[in-house]
Assembly symmetry: C2
């Protein structure tokens, strides 16, 4: 029975009557198949056959080979319901050796694979496009060691980020990465996508924080670069090949992570600013004044604040201003941190950099201020059928120009254009609220303008979300021919049969 379904490439697979209570998703939210929406042609891979299934079941046992249609849905659709594949099998290895055997077998059999962690990616990177075999890291969730002297944590790649942070918190340490999806995402996915998030400003990105990796390449070979040392200059620094390559060069099985001391005290300031020029001047001033204790600098524009007010009833606690800054400090001395932040705030008021503001030290008030920022994505998700969003990196001098440009270009089509995000990292989330529901035609009209503009400013069309399948077609425009060719050569070297996460990043 299975074989027919596989060979029909999704045609009959997701019939409504196959669904039986599938978590929070419902049928109305199911997107069109990725292959149709993004016009992808299936690669020349083998189809899954009974012999393959027998092999996997012998290796993992029946319980760790998932083929029940109702169980498969959540692996085939992403959290944002943008992409949809039609894999008919999920494998759940527990060990590196099992991963190695699966990959070795699939490589010989030319079976395509898609590795999935918490399935929280937003560019369709961890969801199959066709019938790729899904390898879920759900059961690879052992914490292997924590060296309390050095702060080095070693764990399997399927550990959930929040669980790791809870674990190291007990020892006075912090995971140097914090995402909205932390309760679901896996550390292996964070590594594979070079995830950014809220703490990047303070602790830097995964390339700086990952001390070592264990990775299995397409042919099943285990690459052991699981160093736990801060300094280790012996040979090529291979781990970086796998950080941010979105599972297309290898499957991360273990991670060694540097965990800094957990800051003891947090303070937050919420500030009203007159224009974007003053936002930049305030940012420069606060870097000089608060230096080592800054842990987040977020910006929110008026359209975003108004929208969140309308949709979720969230208001500005300081009245209306053209721009708002949320500044967080994290330090080791409560009194010092408060003094610094208050001094900065008073000086910024005197210099007319900020017009108004409030400073919080108590956890409840801090949480209330952060909830303004955190409510933004929730608000946008409610109106998602009319929304277009872009994850953009910009040089700071033109950080907000892209919002004005897009506002001008989409006049008549858009209701409002919003800009908010991690100012401290040059990362702006650009959102367009359309008058009508988003169609592929509108997307085709607006996307090229936005991407061209971003590139003309020297920005990046994917700050922290990666390329996945959704931005794949733009890769040729983002890089020089030499650079693209080197990426393709690396792919061919590490995965000659192109079985790892096909159709994504580099094709």
């Amino acid at each position: 029975m299975f074989l027919k379904i596989f060979q029909n490439e999704c045609l009959h697979f997701f019939k409504p009557n196959n669904f039986k209570g599938i978590g929070k998703r419902n049928l109305r939210n199911r997107p069109d198949f990725t292959k149709n929406r993004y016009k992808v042609t299936r690669g020349n891979y083998n189809y899954l056959r009974e012999g393959h299934i027998n092999y996997f079941q012998a290796l993992l046992g029946h319980k760790r080979v998932i083929m029940d249609l109702s169980d498969l849905e959540k692996y085939n659709v992403d959290w944002y319901t943008q992409v949809r594949g039609c894999s008919s099998i999920v494998l759940k290895p527990k060990t590196t050796e099992e991963v190695s055997q699966i990959l070795s077998f699939c490589n010989k059999q030319k079976l395509a694979l898609c590795t999935q962690g918490g399935n929280t990616g937003v560019v369709g990177g961890c969801v199959p496009v066709f019938d790729e075999i899904i390898i879920s890291t759900e059961l690879m969730n052992d914490i292997i060691s924590l060296d309390e002297n050095s702060g080095v944590l070693v764990c399997q790649s399927g550990c959930i980020l929040q669980n790791l942070d809870n674990f190291v918190a007990e020892k006075g340490l912090i995971i140097p990465l914090d995402l909205g999806a932390k309760g679901t995402c896996h550390i292996g996915g964070n590594v594979s996508t070079n995830a950014g998030g809220m703490r990047l400003l303070k602790y830097g990105n995964m390339h700086g924080n990952v001390l070592g990796l264990e990775v299995v390449t397409a042919n099943g070979e285990i690459i052991d670069c699981l160093s736990t040392l801060k300094k280790d200059n012996t040979g090529y620094h291979l781990k970086h090949l796998f950080i941010g390559s979105e599972g297309t060069l290898g499957l991360v099985t273990k991670v060694a992570l540097q965990c800094p001391p957990r800051p003891k005290y947090r303070n937050v300031a919420f500030l009203g600013v007159q224009n974007f020029d003053k936002v930049l001047k305030t940012f420069k001033f606060l870097k000089a004044e608060l230096g080592e204790i800054i842990s987040a600098v977020e910006v929110i524009d008026t359209p975003t604040m108004d929208f969140i007010n309308q949709i979720v009833g969230q208001t500005s606690p300081i009245g209306d201003y053209p721009f708002y800054l949320l500044v967080e400090t994290s330090g080791s001395n409560e009194q010092h941190d408060e003094e610094k932040l208050n001094h900065f705030f008073e000086a910024a008021l005197k210099k007319f950099l900020v017009l108004n503001g409030t400073v919080a030290s108590e956890p409840a008030k801090i949480q209330a201020l952060w909830s303004i920022r955190e409510n933004i994505p929730n608000g946008f998700k409610i109106c998602s059928s009319k929304m277009m969003y872009y994850d953009v990196s910009m040089p700071l001098s033109n950080y907000y120009s892209i919002v004005n440009d897009v506002d001008e270009f989409t006049k008549g089509l858009s209701e409002r254009v919003f800009g908010f995000g991690h100012l401290g990292d040059g990362n702006i989330h650009l959102q367009i609220q359309l008058k009508d529901d988003l169609t592929d035609e509108i997307k085709k009209h607006i996307d090229p303008f936005v991407f061209d503009k971003i590139l003309s400013y020297g920005g990046s069309i994917s700050a922290e979300h990666g390329i996945g399948i959704i931005k794949q077609k733009y890769m040729n425009r983002l890089k020089t021919v030499n650079t693209l060719n080197l990426m393709k050569d690396l792919k061919s070297l590490l995965d000659p049969n192109k079985i790892l996460n096909p159709y994504k990043v580099i094709v």
Copy 2:
């Protein structure tokens, strides 16, 4: 005349009468040729011929093609006088395009190359082994841009580290890298060796601080990954291939570097500690108490302090203790930083973690305390004929064990064994003072023991200095077969004719 010399592979090249006032080096210090000392066989490269020289002179002009024997010496011997090549030509390109043309030409002609920055490496990585053409980055020293809002500096790879730091200091920024060799080393060399140094504890390594690179690969292709963005997740993160690969995969031509705000105030504590267990406990305590303002934690043992006292008259300002810790803080508020450090010091005394100490805030006293640490390498250099030194990374729990092990093993041969270094990064400099001058026989006896011990503790035989030629023969023992094969595959992919820095790192 030249051709004969080249083809004799160094036999006649460094005759004493070729030397005419060559800086601070003298003939007594000239080491044996690397090819003899390390028993290297010349690769199947072409020899330099008149046609090649004509090509280089046409491309660069006569002044930027150095062939005068007296001028060549300083490029053929390293600073520590450990290695010696016999190149007869130094090329001094100014632009990426010139580098591209040189590499393209040499690749076609199968001429081997050795790139050299400030020639401050300590593993023979930037000095030719045979007659490799030396490409000096001395004239690639343009600072291209500094974005004061984001702190992003873009420059050519031949800029001297100290010059860059002076330049950004004027704008209130700091280069996140500080080395003893900063007045001489080039930023391109720092990138290519993933240089560590004094500020790594605070700012992390080059993988975290380099935002973008421009690199020329062996065939002359320019790889443009000169992003100036903190977040840019578009495709493979190619720049990391070239960070730490010691010039064997490509020649770095431009660097984009993230420069944090320059700390305004420094404080230093110099502490006496009873044993290594208490050193570790003090380190853990100071991380918790001083958190975000710690910028250096250096350890010095008694044999090292005694030696420096004898050799350069440097004494401990706090009396004699088994171990000394030098702790530096860098922050944005003078009073806060002093308070934190004083509070830590008093609490550490009360807890009997430290036995005595002194704290300094005035620049002159800070400099005096740092000079104790900085005088150590100078002292050892004076007795270099009897010295063996190792740059080791160790898990903190066994950081000092290696010193005791080596002391025990070398009884009868050694006068003293010393341990000092960057405790905060797990990086110990292990030195052995022999009773007699170091010979190759002694080296062959001691090296394997030291390296075996380091590896048995899960340490690294090269923390920050790299592999170069000096540690090349150990590579097979440091990595698994799969890992080594992947390194070799990367070398073959990027430099199929193996013209870039041959005999080093991976052969």
